[in-house]
């Protein structure tokens, strides 16, 4: 038992920057740590060359993650992680590029970049940690805050409608879309592996807990109570397909929601274009 634990912690330590950055900025019990663990285990299992991988993020609690991990890490401006990552990937298509983002970062200020990255089907994996609120700035409503939910900017309940990040990605042209929760972390790990291996734009939405703000303002309890709620209300996609919309109300549909292996990838297509352009020049 202790050997197994040691091996596991060795993997984590190997991929973290323990002397540089810890302790993290995250609250105790934050789901971000679970996602970071799943991400590291996934990359370790895939056996990628760490020198040939970049992890890009924007701004927010979630976007601090790349700083803690020993990859080439690019912590950029709010909402812009995907266009920065597009620059890295397009310049170096041989590199593995992942984006770590949050609901505010990807869907509010970065919403336009999000749909266009999906549309291009560029080979980037976006891990979108959705905690339904702005954590870093202290609990304001986000594009995924449910109608009626409380935040510091929706003190009387949210009058707006929310985005479904997965449906948005599918509609915009992403070719691998899945959802997991921080409770279902083995599934999350596997999904990140599939997404990284998928050629094209992939989205992994991770339902996560911000007990500090969303939990407290909406009486969802502490971190463990929120994880329990994810466990109880998560429905696998296979089962969800047999359920009515009413039955799916307030449920988290998890699993691989959409895969399309037929659509061409942006960098591949551009390389064909380069051949055409170079022939025409001659």
């Amino acid at each position: 038992m202790t050997t197994v634990v040691k091996q596991k912690s060795d993997v984590m330590l190997n991929y973290l920057r323990p002397k540089m950055k810890f302790p993290s900025v995250w609250c105790p019990g934050c789901g971000n740590g679970i996602v970071m663990g799943a991400f590291i285990r996934a990359i370790n299992k895939l056996g990628y060359d760490r020198n040939n991988m970049a992890v890009v993020s924007g701004i927010g609690c979630t976007s601090r993650m790349p700083a803690y991990m020993d990859f080439s890490s690019l912590h950029t401006t709010h909402g812009r992680a995907l266009p920065y990552a597009t620059g890295v990937k397009f310049a170096r298509p041989d590199m593995k590029v992942a984006v770590i983002t949050g609901d505010g970062d990807a869907l509010a200020i970065g919403g336009n970049h999000f749909i266009h990255a999906c549309r291009r089907n560029i080979d980037i994996t976006a891990v979108l940690i959705n905690n339904y609120i702005y954590g870093m700035t202290g609990g304001q409503g986000s594009p995924t805050t449910p109608s009626g939910a409380f935040s510091t900017t929706t003190p009387y309940g949210n009058v707006e409608k929310h985005f479904d990040a997965c449906n948005l990605a599918i509609g915009a042209g992403a070719t691998f879309v899945g959802r997991a929760t921080v409770y279902h972390y083995p599934q999350l790990e596997k999904m990140i592996m599939q997404a990284m291996e998928h050629k094209g734009f992939s989205l992994v939405e991770v339902v996560s807990n911000c007990h500090t703000y969303f939990g407290r303002l909406n009486r969802r309890g502490d971190a463990s109570a929120m994880l329990k709620e994810f466990k109880e209300n998560a429905v696998n996609i296979t089962k969800a397909k047999t359920m009515t919309p009413e039955e799916l109300e307030n449920k988290y549909v998890i699993g691989t929601l959409y895969v399309n292996d037929d659509k061409t990838e942006f960098c591949d297509e551009y390389h064909k274009l380069m051949d055409v352009a170079q022939k025409r020049k001659k």
Binding site: R17, M20, K21, R50, N51, N52, A54, V56, P66, A67, D70, F71, S72, S73, L74, H75, T76, T77, G79, R80, L82, P83, Y84, A85, T86, G87, V88, K89, F90, A91, R92, D94, M95, N112, H113, H116, Y270, L273, M274, V276, A277, Q278, R280, K281
Partner: protein, 378 residues
Amino acid sequence: MAKNKRKLLQGNGACVQGAIYAGLRFFAGYPITPSTEIAENCARFLPQVGGRFIQMEDELGSMAAIIGASVTGMKSMTATSGPGYSLMQENIGYAYMTEIPCVVVNVQRGGPSTGLPTKVSQSDTMQARWGTHGDYNAIAVAPSTVADTFTETIRAFNLAERFRTPVTILLDEVIAHMRAIVPIPEEGEYEIVNRVKPTKPPEEYIPYEITENFVSPMPGYGEGYRYHITGLTHNTLGFSTNEPEEIVVKLDKLKNKIDKFQDEIMKLRVNNMDDAEVAFVSYGSVSRAALQAVSLARSVGVKVGTIQLYTIWPFPYDKLREICSRCQKVIVAELNMGQIIHEVRRALPEDIEVLPLQRYDGEILTPTQLLEKLEEVL
């Protein structure tokens, strides 16, 4: 001497040819008048030389993408006009802070806001210095002819690589859309500067090490150096900091790397200034009119000269003071309501009268207008 190749090019086209000569291999942009031909030329010519072109969803994304590409070691550029330049300021600030080399072309048109899309202006000169928030040092260059645009674009890339910083090329609508014969240099005719790569092994690499010239060696992503880049104020290791001493070291680095090496950046063209009593100070397309006006005025014996600013930022305060020391009057001619004139006033002693000649109706300043102003002040 082998006869150089010559090409009939538009200013925007000369910019692209100069950029490719300097090593441009990545362009991201968004269409906007009067800069669009730069994107169009890049879409056509970059894939021919193994480079990449991408049309992004907006200018925020364009600026972000060129920084992302530069991080991998590729020379990158974007082009826009005033409204797009405003949108790019956020990520231009990121490039200042993280010290990522890149080139931003701003083909100026009238503003504010959507302003005058098809009309000439020079009203973004201050934005090129102070456009993004915070304290930083900026480099901006301004060509005045189509041939200049070719060579100044090479210079902009060289400065970006040498100083690890974004460099703005302030074109204006007149030069951008003018066509002229441009000599195309042979490979090796112009010096091409590339960013300094680390010689230390990865385990000893300090991403923002303070070196003799304040510029730190920069490896590309994927070259075995795994390091962190953040727009948060960071220490020499590249990690965010709130320590007052580390904050000062970082901001001083951004200032000193340019302030202390200004001579490498400064470029002015001085014409007929030896005995000049009156001088025109100008930049961009206005300098064309200034040269013509001076030549006409000299033919009737007026002691007038011109100073053309190729480097707008950092501003050449000391050089200008030196060159104008014998002048009684200096006329600052520019296509705005008065921007660079304030810098000229700061540069010159109070006994030299600094006078404005400004046009902001979307039209060019003509040699006749400059001569009229000259008559008025003599």
